[in-house]
Subunit: 247 residues, 2 copies
């Protein structure tokens, strides 16, 4: 199964071990750690309680982008109250999205640090945000608990006998491809001197949010890249014509 768990800035090695154990119980083995404060660590191994193989094969990254570069679906996690601009899904719906996408590409489940959760720069790379429903006034799941609940739902949605969603016709664009698209988009906006009217310079963030929500497949991404290239070419032609006209 091409489903990974990505922990961004985990502070407590014990939590990393508990996450490994939670994952393995639900049949997941690919753990990616972005800037772990301490790893490997005896406390992680102790809490893994037999899931040492998950820890041993864990991959450590300096940059979040590298952990999701080859993923066609990136699911972020969040406590409910924040990020009202996102479409929040619950773990059950999330699991169906994951089951569908994992048939044609890699999927990342992304968890932020124990204290702060995911930062905006990381959220901007997620296609969906999942939130675990909690009782109103106390929503403070331990990191490994959140991993357990979400991976439990994924096991239910992917185990033998579970209804299999039809695979998408075309693979989704990967994290890396989406970054290239956004870079391209930003270059074009500069070239056409589009003025950011969002106030706080939030233009690219809004564009990211829109396209992440839409979850582009490879064909759609190629079409958009083609349009951007055409805009650039047209502008260069226009630019050289205009120069000739001026001259």
């Amino acid at each position: 199964m091409s489903i990974r768990v990505v922990l961004v800035d985990p502070k407590h090695p014990g939590n990393i071990g508990a996450v490994a154990r939670a994952m393995k119980n639900m049949g997941l083995t690919q753990l990616h750690l972005v800037r772990p404060k301490a790893f490997p660590d005896a406390e992680a191994t102790a809490r893994a309680s037999g899931a040492d193989d998950v820890l041993d094969s864990a991959r450590v990254h300096e940059e979040f982008e590298d952990a999701i570069a080859d993923c066609g679906l990136v699911i972020g996690t969040s406590a409910r109250q924040r990020h009202l601009t996102f479409d929040l899904v619950e773990p059950r719906e999330c699991a169906h999205l994951v089951a569908e996408a994992a048939q044609v590409g890699n999927v990342a489940l992304v968890f932020g640090s124990e204290k702060y959760g995911l930062l905006n720069v990381e959220l901007a790379r997620c296609h969906r945000l999942v939130t675990i429903p909690t009782a109103g006034d106390y929503a403070s799941l331990n990191l490994a608990m959140a991993v357990q609940v979400i991976t439990y739902e994924i096991l239910l949605a992917t185990r033998p006998g579970a209804p299999v969603p039809p695979p998408p016709d075309v693979p989704f664009a990967t994290g890396r491809e989406m970054e290239l698209l956004y870079e391209h988009f930003e270059r074009v906006l500069e070239e056409v001197e589009f003025r950011d009217r969002t106030g706080g310079g939030q233009l690219m963030a809004r564009i990211r949010r829109l396209f992440n929500r839409a979850r582009l497949d490879q064909n759609e991404m190629n079409i958009l890249r083609g349009i951007l290239t055409a805009v650039q070419a047209r502008r260069r032609v226009a630019g050289s014509k205009s120069q000739r006209g001026d001259g």
Copy 2:
């Protein structure tokens, strides 16, 4: 909500704290501890992380029976492989049973010790066994993780907007009432000199299993108690007649 979590013989105070936190996140506050190895304990408080109120109001018992005496539904927990003689339910189905029963009585979710789980004598007092599905070869959820998954499903089944199962017409018999029934049953079996043909003296265990599975309501329990009393009365009459006949 009249739903409690019962931990039997918990060995690690950290787990008690983590359980309190998991419960509170899902809106449950009634924690019952049977023979905790260490409680209260600083490690429990540290891991509770804001769910101190659940710890503070926890009730400690010497006997498991006392923790479930007033409960109309007692759900035990188990790793899948054991106890093949039980009808195992999964957390989702369990949650619907709990949502139904909690409308008319108290419900206990019972978790055994970290190392051994529930013992047979405790299992014999459960109406249902719930098991959390796991990936085949590694089924070793941490105690608090198991509480988290099961209480998560209960939150989904009981939160506003969830389909409410119709309440049962008659409350279920409580744990204490069932114990009185079994004691009565056993006395009658002795009085009628019924021979245990189960081999290992498993007769009462089988009878318990049967009636626990059936989940008696108060009326049914009263009927059975009435039948048992009638058998005793009849036998005494027959006995005295037979004595008269002999005399």
